[in-house]
Amino acid sequence: MRGARLAVAALVAIAVLVALIPLGRWERSRRADEQVRGMQSVLAAVGRLDSPSLAAFRQLGSFDCLLYRRARNPFALEVCVNDRGRVVEAIDRRGKAARIWSLRDDPSRSSVLVDRARVERLLRKMGAPR
């Protein structure tokens, strides 16, 4: 009798765990979509990557960033791109607090793509080392 109860409990537990899988994946997709929308809004605010407002760069090993001036802030908008051209992080510093959208934890979820070769040219133009 006790063995039967344990077996039922185990089956219920397995069913619950299996049911969690689509839920966990849905949370993952929902967050990724939110971050992508934020990154797209920053890119839209930047306009062209070779905009005259391009003011600075950042190189961090796993990705490189281009920073754009707005008014007196040379770092107002920032777009970070990995070596495959995926935008993995975007920051809007035009307000009081920086608004950050990031998929650093899971870059493959970013559907925002830019021309990596163009990013490279812009970095060299600003004097970034290879």
Partner: protein, 436 residues
Amino acid sequence: MAALVLSLAAASSNVKYLNIPFGRQLRWVVLAELLAVAVLLAASRGKRRSLVGAPLAGAAAAAALAALALVSTAWSPDARLTAARAVSLTLLFAAAGALAYAAAGDRRVAELVLVAVLGGATLVALAGLVHLALSPEQAVVAATARQAARYNGLGANPNAMPVVLALAVPLAGWMLLYARRRAARGLAAAAGVLMVGSIVASGSRGALLAAFAGLLALALTVARSRRRAAALAAAVVAGLAVSLLVMQLPRPADRDPPLTPSAAQRTVDPAGAELLLPLADEIGHPRSGELAPPRRLLSSLGRARAWRGAIEQAGERPLLGYGFGTEERVFVDRYYLFFAGRVENSYIGAALQIGVVGLVLLLALVALVLAGGLRAVRAPRSTRPLAAACLGVVVCGVVLAVTQSFLTSAGSVGAAPFWLCAFLIGGLAAGSRSRA
């Protein structure tokens, strides 16, 4: 068990030839060996033990937590990492469970485990002193304008080794109170002083508070009268006060130390944004002309901000989190006064990894262990000191988990001692019930 504590410490150490390629692999081999020995020990007890009530509920909570960790592979950004870490946690739980089962009928097993944890932690503290003598520049973080010099010992940072030392302090107290031989009590006292001294020198406030919280729990549960409880508690509080005073003695430097030649070579291109606004220091960065506040006893500016940021990030995937074992991958240090790759709070870290569902399971497991511990210390006299020692370690760990991420990381220096003692409480409780 002592070997496991040592190998975990080696894997977290700043000594290159201990850490990579040695310590990081060795800890898993030792864990597997411990599991094998624990299972053999449990099997050799022979008589079946009835697992009902709180121990059964605790076992179920632990199994559910491990199962959730494994299933989170399905939504993790690094399935292999999640699977490996979930398996290691499961192995640790299995070893702890087997030892607890063996201890249910034979308290000598529990005594051996506790003495081994204490021995392992003492060796870690001693090894830190040897490292200080041989490589003082690695064993000590130099003073800056913001904070005084801090003792690393073997650890990669000043907060690393104090985790296992703090967990072992209640065990030193247990041995000091209950060891039969005077020499053993003397060794326990010396070990306790060494470990507390190492924690004080490290400047790790969380570890110090946790160590004395564990001692206080031990004192209150072993005292046979209110008078004795008050006397022991007063002694513990006095010890904490003295330790805190001594911890404040070293002063920050007048100015920051010069960059080493290798660090100077790594400075960023002056045209780069990283020089003026590093991404890792963006939040809380002082404005031009402002100075960062010095580190004080009660200051927690950097940590509080980092925790807030991590909670917001956990809120983006609240139910099931980002995947077990992904805390360092998911948490991004953007905080000026915070220097860690993890959240440094086990509860927020758990929420980040396995969401509210996982956090609730973890808290339920801890609550069951604490409740079991309180019941076990009212049990027959023969097991009361053992239960009190285990409860002291658990209380220490629960407090320490507020300022360190280690509870769910089987490879961390503190997880094994904590969970072994936590599961032993269940074993001692089951054993008391059987005898009754």
